[in-house]
């Protein structure tokens, strides 16, 4: 059987940005019984400094007690592989839910994700990688998963590095311009994620994919396009996170969560009446 550190790997789960995901059995040393966990690996021979920086960051993340954040168990390094082990959620993600997901389910999951982001912001961490595939689903609500550590493994590489070409459609213009990640950039990504899942469309349906330079040019010069499939309440929530002037946007993840929750409740009432 294949192993990563002392985890028995059962099967691969897929590929991410510069990383792979595995499904495996937790070792006894963790004290969490014979649990199955998700393991994310990076092909990166981290130096001691990088490893320390990464564990410091993840320890801070793990100290946040929010039911809307993916629980992490263990971070480690084996040769040229860095790994992070955390909860395995069987519900899939908003990119690929394991069961049919109604519009109201999507809104409730997005409210949970916004609360997860808020909990991170309150301890001083920006998530940096919010997208549909990172809103993980379980029977007890959604959790924001997979906090980004790639910036810790490659210092000097910014958020717009080419490796993230596939996810740049979720980047706020401020991030593209090289400003540091913030509450506001995570809220932009939450709005982009909500828009994508509700409408099936990206904020930037005409984003050129032939080169990074032309894609960035598009992101810096174009405004998000609101999809026709949005209901008025949803459109208002999303637009308030992507106003051209960052100072006028929704200010915290908690406010965004409350607004989405209210919209979900309103839609649920309409269904009943």
């Amino acid at each position: 059987m294949q192993r990563i550190a002392d985890y028995d790997i059962v099967q691969p789960l897929g590929e991410g940005n510069q990383s792979q995901y595995w499904y495996g059995r937790a070792p006894a040393r963790l004290g969490i019984g014979d649990s199955m966990v998700a393991i994310k690996t990076y092909n990166h021979a981290a130096t001691d400094t990088e490893f320390d920086r990464m564990t410091e960051h993840l320890t801070l993340y793990a100290s946040v007690t929010s039911s809307h954040l993916l629980r992490l168990y263990d971070v480690g390094q084996q040769g040229a592989i860095v790994y992070i082990a955390g909860d395995y959620l069987a519900g899939g993600s908003l990119a690929r839910p394991a069961r049919p997901f109604s519009r109201i389910d999507v809104l409730r999951a997005m409210a949970d994700a916004a609360r997860g982001a808020h909990a991170l912001h309150e301890i001083g961490i920006a998530h940096r990688a919010i997208r549909p595939g990172n809103v993980l689903l379980s029977d007890n609500g959604a959790k924001l998963g997979d906090v980004s550590i790639s910036h810790l493994l490659s210092p000097g590489q910014t958020i717009t590095s080419a490796a993230q070409m596939g996810t740049i459609e979720h980047l706020s213009p401020e991030l593209v311009q090289g400003q540091p990640p913030s509450r506001s950039s995570d809220l932009w990504a939450l709005a982009a994620t909500m828009h994508k899942v509700l409408t099936g469309q990206s904020f930037f349906p005409e984003l050129p994919t032939d080169s990074l330079v032309s894609a960035l040019r598009h992101l810096l010069t174009q405004r998000p396009t609101m999809g026709d499939a949005l209901r008025n309440g949803e459109r208002h929530i999303i637009e308030s996170c992507v106003e051209a002037d960052p100072a006028t946007r929704t200010s915290t993840g908690e406010q965004l969560a409350d607004a989405i929750q209210a919209e979900a409740d309103r839609q649920a009432e309409q269904v009943q009446s």
Binding site: G31, Q77, S182, A247, R249
Partner: protein
Amino acid sequence: MTDLDLRAGQIHRGLGIVARWPNIALVIPSEPAHDGVVDEMFDTLNPNPTSQQIIRAINALLAENRLKSVGMVVEATGGPMAVAYGGVEIIVDGELAMSGANGLVKQQVPSGADQLTIRSANLAKAAEPVPPFDLRRGIAPGGGLTLLRLAAVEPPALSNRMPGHAAPAPSAKEAPSADPAPPANVALAGAPAPGPEPEMEAPFRSVSLIDVAPPAEITPLPITSGADLDEAEPAPSLGRGRVEVEGILCSRQHFNNPQSAYCMVCGVSLAHLTPNRVVRPRPTLGFIVFDDGSSFGLDRSYLIGREPVRTEDQDAELLMIHDNNDTLSRTHAELRLADWSVQLIDLGSTNGTYIWDQDNERWNQLTAGHAVELHSGETVALGRRTFVFEGVGQLS
């Protein structure tokens, strides 16, 4: 690390996959016969395969005649060894060194070569690598891979620099060319002997994240938007370095450079408009993308350097750029927005500021303190760091 591992890996657009691990780089062009075969190969390899394991997997597929074309460069004793089979070409410093069209070819390539390219023979000859991509490890879609000695993309050798003269371009032609030895038809199966399987239970270190206490001192991220912001905060719309300029409005009220023929936002012609001059905050004039993919919008002027410092009469934003080779000066150059143009000024840097002259294929050095207007698409070198300027609303 070997020479091969220290090289940048530029991916060429095209159909197929490119892959790179320590001591090995390979390209497998897309072919109908390869459907599923390549996936299967990478599935059976462990996530961090050795070059030996990859060679063995390739050999197995070649032996079964399931792989129709493949190209690779492997670090071997005596320097890099290149293999081409099927529709794959290997290009060394711009010269076609090997082709797999007539069967498997295996050949040593000069270790002094600056550029080693493995590419699908079907790629358009003009297909250029995509510079911001630097594949060091792993698998990516692409039709070719150029392994670039980092010095080859860098500005001229600093010792060649003469005051007042443009330094010679770092030309690949000056590097030793490929040894034109006739390709030897050697079966790949006879290539490096299989080494011992790596120990799977290698030592590891780990840090538990269970029941971690929060730190004593917590600094939440600042709240930077919303109505309850302190009114004393300066308005962010016209911050440092933001100025108003005179321009014209297109028929849809987009603000434009009065010299433009077309609206930079919607593309409508500005030629037949009655000039309607207005003064507005200057829009973003474009952006710059550095060699590591980081980008910065030009809605303000920048002082660029290792640790840039502003003098009293400058209102530019400070842009700190990391440089492993210490070729950047503390405050190296200024990108200054002047009305609707972007100017580059060398601030007396030690290693110089250069603009790539495409027509004459050389780097032109700027005279310190002398402003030069940048045009969209131009490449600039500051010491050994480079960036590309993309102007918005300018024709490249």
